[in-house]
Symmetry: C2
Subunit: 222 residues, 2 copies
């Protein structure tokens, strides 16, 4: 979990640890990573679950310890993180990109996005990742706050895009480990450019309706 | 209903007529408009409802007869239609734009969109509409086929964007007339650039899951 000290990474780590999925949290500083790992463990123990282990390491160390690496960092930090991770990502690993190119990255509104030359943040990630790493785009519409609170029931979809079927299946299986989340394969990685727009859409809906957390559920799937 | 001879316009006309909302269908040819109106009436009678009147007129005649004008035409016909409608749209009227800039307009894929200089088809409509006309963007995620079949139960949201609160409320009220549809105000008209991406997203989901009709439902709203 690169960016595991951030809100989305923290929330997902809480839910997965609760579900028995071992988590390695990465941060630029190993101390902050360990601190975040301890905080996740504490939150999970508070929920009374049988928690899987949560450890904290410096980003590259963390990434090299897992077959699935989730990038949950602000857009302005995405390139730097991917540069640093180049040596740590194995050709067989899966990189899950949850980055959203919010205009907030350059001081703009969180209800707007920036155009990314490659089409989407996920496609930028694919361009920067070592050859052979499968990039999957996901987790743009789940609320970090809702995930972080194990008492909060979830009932929504996680929309997934990617070109590698096996990698998508693996991510879908991870999503299913969290009660109340349903994975939905939305197609090829290029669809990420639409998925990444859903975050500002939900931010706009939250603002308009004065609610904390809207999500997406697709209808018509069995 | 400009483009009432097309699939989406036809489907919405069926549902609204069934719900007691009088509909005027527009087409380039008055004969085709009358034909479509007769087809809608027939479909509605078949459903056994107390249908509101459905009439057919040439586009400009149709538009001048209604306070709310819905534009449901292919993207490549949007500009021409708006040019022709200039004289027919009153400054107090509401223009509901359901146009989606699918790349299919230039022979590309229906899972991709074209970039529109103004940001979205709805914003292009606002630029072209006479001053004072309130533009509302909506109806990108409801399936024309599902709407056209009065026997099919609906259970999904209609996402709405626009700068004029009153016009959005009017459109929301029209949406509520159709059982199973819930209007959700998603913010300012600029959000249309996100809403218009949801059509290719659902087309991609339909393709991937071999289903005919997926839709969107937001969670977290009461």
């Amino acid at each position: 979990m690169i960016g595991g000290t951030g809100a989305l990474g923290f929330g997902l780590a809480v839910r997965w640890s609760l579900a028995g999925v071992p988590i390695v949290i990465g941060s630029r500083s190993p101390e902050r990573a360990e601190e975040a790992a301890a905080k996740v463990s504490e939150r999970v123990r508070g929920a009374g679950g049988d928690a899987a282990e949560v450890e904290g390491f410096q980003n590259e160390d963390a990434a090299s310890r897992a077959a699935t690496v989730l990038l949950a960092v602000p857009f302005r930090a995405q390139s730097e993180n991917l540069n640093n991770l180049r040596g740590a990502l194995r050709p067989s690993s899966t990189l899950v990109d949850a980055t959203v190119p919010l205009a907030a990255a350059i001081g703009g509104r969180a209800t707007r996005t920036l155009g990314v030359w490659q089409g989407s943040a996920a496609q930028q990630a694919e361009e920067m990742a070592p050859r052979g790493v499968a990039v999957v785009s996901a987790f743009h519409t789940v609320s970090a706050a809702a995930l972080s609170d194990p008492g909060k029931a979830l009932d929504e979809d996680v929309l997934i895009a990617g070109d590698d079927r096996k990698a998508k299946d693996d991510v879908a299986a991870l999503v299913r480990r969290i009660p109340g989340l349903r994975p939905v394969d939305c197609g090829e990685l290029e669809v990420a450019r639409i998925l990444e727009q859903l975050t500002p859409l939900l931010i706009s809906v939250n603002k308009r309706h004065k609610i904390k957390h809207s999500g997406v559920r697709l209808t018509g799937l069995e």
